[in-house]
Symmetry: C2
Subunit: 163 residues, 2 copies
């Protein structure tokens, strides 16, 4: 088109629209996949995403986590963690154990039933993710992973530094 006479302002404007289109596509792709996963978790395991996430946190830490540590890791406030742990405990998927040194605090961990249930859910979950990302070839997935890494952390050539 007008490559030879590109005005910086025009180009900047066009780039802005390009970023906006990229963002809308990013949002649309992610939302579609997340909604599918949420719906399948609900239908097949009768579980919500935050509950799944909490169990995933516990699965990574077999020795258990305190309520406040769960709150910190899930980046939600304490009251919400209480509610989720209440539900999961009622279903005997997690367990509150009192601490020896500090009687204000609990250690929350998966029960064996919880570990078993989570293993089945995580397996299905991984299969769905593989399925939903399958339009991209392995090499494209690697490329996408790298680009998102840059988006997340800034470019590897210019890492965040204090100047």
């Amino acid at each position: 088109m007008n490559k030879h006479h590109t005005d910086m302002e025009v180009r900047a404007h066009a780039d802005h629209h390009a970023s906006l289109r990229l963002w809308l596509r990013l949002l649309s792709c992610t939302t579609r996949i997340e909604d599918t996963i949420r719906q399948r978790l609900r239908e097949q395991f009768d579980i919500t995403l935050p509950r799944f996430d909490l169990m995933a946190q516990l699965e990574r830490e077999p020795q258990g986590l305190s309520m406040s540590e769960l709150s910190r890791r899930m980046m939600v406030t304490g009251g919400n963690v209480t509610a989720i742990v209440d539900q999961l405990e009622k279903e005997q998927l997690v367990l509150r154990q009192t601490q020896v040194g500090d009687r204000r605090s609990f250690t929350v961990s998966l029960t064996s039933a919880g570990r078993e249930a989570f293993a089945a859910m995580a397996l299905a979950h991984e299969g769905w993710v593989v399925e939903l990302l399958s339009p991209l070839a392995d090499q494209e997935q690697t490329q996408l992973h790298q680009l998102l890494g840059t988006l997340k952390s800034g470019p590897p050539t210019q890492p965040k530094e204090k100047t």
Copy 2:
């Protein structure tokens, strides 16, 4: 999306499938950006994302849209559209007009105050998006856009049109 703010990437295990790591990174990046935009819209314009989205739909269709068309485009059920339009109409940002041919239906459109307010918000919004995507160079953004196009529509051997 609404959404929890967990950094989902921490759920990744070394032995998880590469697709799962990709998905967690995709979700994490998108959620982080969306939460930032949602917060800024709230703080600076006292508006929610669904209300912003509804106004964006109307801005693209100056002749207006019916409630059911808004519902279809926003992919939420009719009752929700009624509630959002009620709020925006109370603030005189949008207008319901009765149809001539079908007295069941309304045409919803932006008022001039609504167009003005939306223009300011859209400008800020676009600036935020440019800022939040700025870790990626233009060429990387193009690459990402293409990869997400493939993810959305399936492989080029099985195209499905639409952007």
